[in-house]
Symmetry: C2
Subunit: 190 residues, 2 copies
């Protein structure tokens, strides 16, 4: 069996840190191409390059049947009408699902069936779980005024495919309308 | 994609209930053979048959790569020196791992490698995760004065094998010594 330290981990539901775990940080410059309003993106980036989100991950074992988890933290903010978001990804091993559990703050998840393009927007809040089925692209946004933190649990062999999303992007965007998140068709690039 | 209701679930971290989910309850009578002190077990059962634990489960999809989760709740109490516990199980599909996340109260998990018998006792507390690797029997105990609640996430195809544990039981027991949980070799049956 693995060592005690690899079987036990402790996270902070407010900072999103996992003690002793590696963390990936994404700044505004890393999200080029994600936001619909590219003029607003370039204007914001000309002013500053803030941290948009971080993900800490725990990977105790590899192989079929094993699991990993991460804690994500997305800062509050918007580019144009769009909320700060993750790049979004598919799993490299397409059948891999993922469970998200909200820890603090208020988010939404955008799910898109890779085969059909069918899209769903789901709330991500403390004490609730969002299921991302296999074969489904997923992106997370912070729609509240405070940092959003959440747990994601996925098969060890899931892997991350960012490039498919980077090429085609999601079919839908999530924007603020009258103070609330609304899912819309992505506007044609101008 | 599945319906919105099957992708989104809400749980109560204190009661352990998942809105709209099926729940299994285990009372003292269901745990016959689990506790080392069988005389204390029979004496307690002669007095009352309390609820020991419940598990609510969410199963949005079946098949390879998909995931399920449950919320468990174990009541505080002891039989002899042993804490109230779950029956414990192996996964029917042995490679299946499980992540536990503590929600409220104070617990420990007993892990036992099926092949080697190697045993580990790990704390299960809010804001911490315990990893149960594949091929590992696991049992959860409430070692505090209030109900223990926790999330468990596992592959959809894991399944539950209770019978192997029911026959052989775990090699170790967890008892209270000076107010703290201690793992000991299971005493020979008298």
């Amino acid at each position: 069996m693995q060592s005690l330290t690899s079987l036990l981990s402790t996270y902070d539901p407010l900072t999103g840190e996992i003690a002793g775990a590696s963390t990936v940080e994404r700044h505004l410059c890393d999200l080029r191409g994600c936001f619909a309003d590219s003029a607003a993106f370039e204007a914001a980036l000309a002013r500053a390059n803030p941290l948009l989100y971080s993900v800490a991950a725990v990977a105790p074992a590899q192989g079929e049947g094993e699991l990993h988890y991460g804690v994500g933290k997305i800062m509050p903010g918007k580019i144009g009408d769009e909320y700060y978001m993750t790049k979004g990804h598919l799993h490299a091993w397409r059948p891999a699902a993922e469970f998200y559990f909200g820890l603090s703050g208020e988010g939404v998840m955008l799910l898109e069936d890779e085969a059909t393009g069918e899209s769903r927007m789901l709330p991500l809040r403390p004490n609730s779980a969002v299921y991302v089925p296999g074969f489904t692209a997923h992106r997370t946004m912070n729609v509240g005024p405070t940092p959003l933190t959440y747990i994601g649990v996925y098969p060890a062999r899931a892997g991350h495919d960012y490039s498919t999303i980077a090429k085609a992007n999601f079919r839908c965007i999530v924007v603020e309308r009258d103070g609330k998140p609304v899912m819309l068709e992505r506007p044609a690039r101008t």
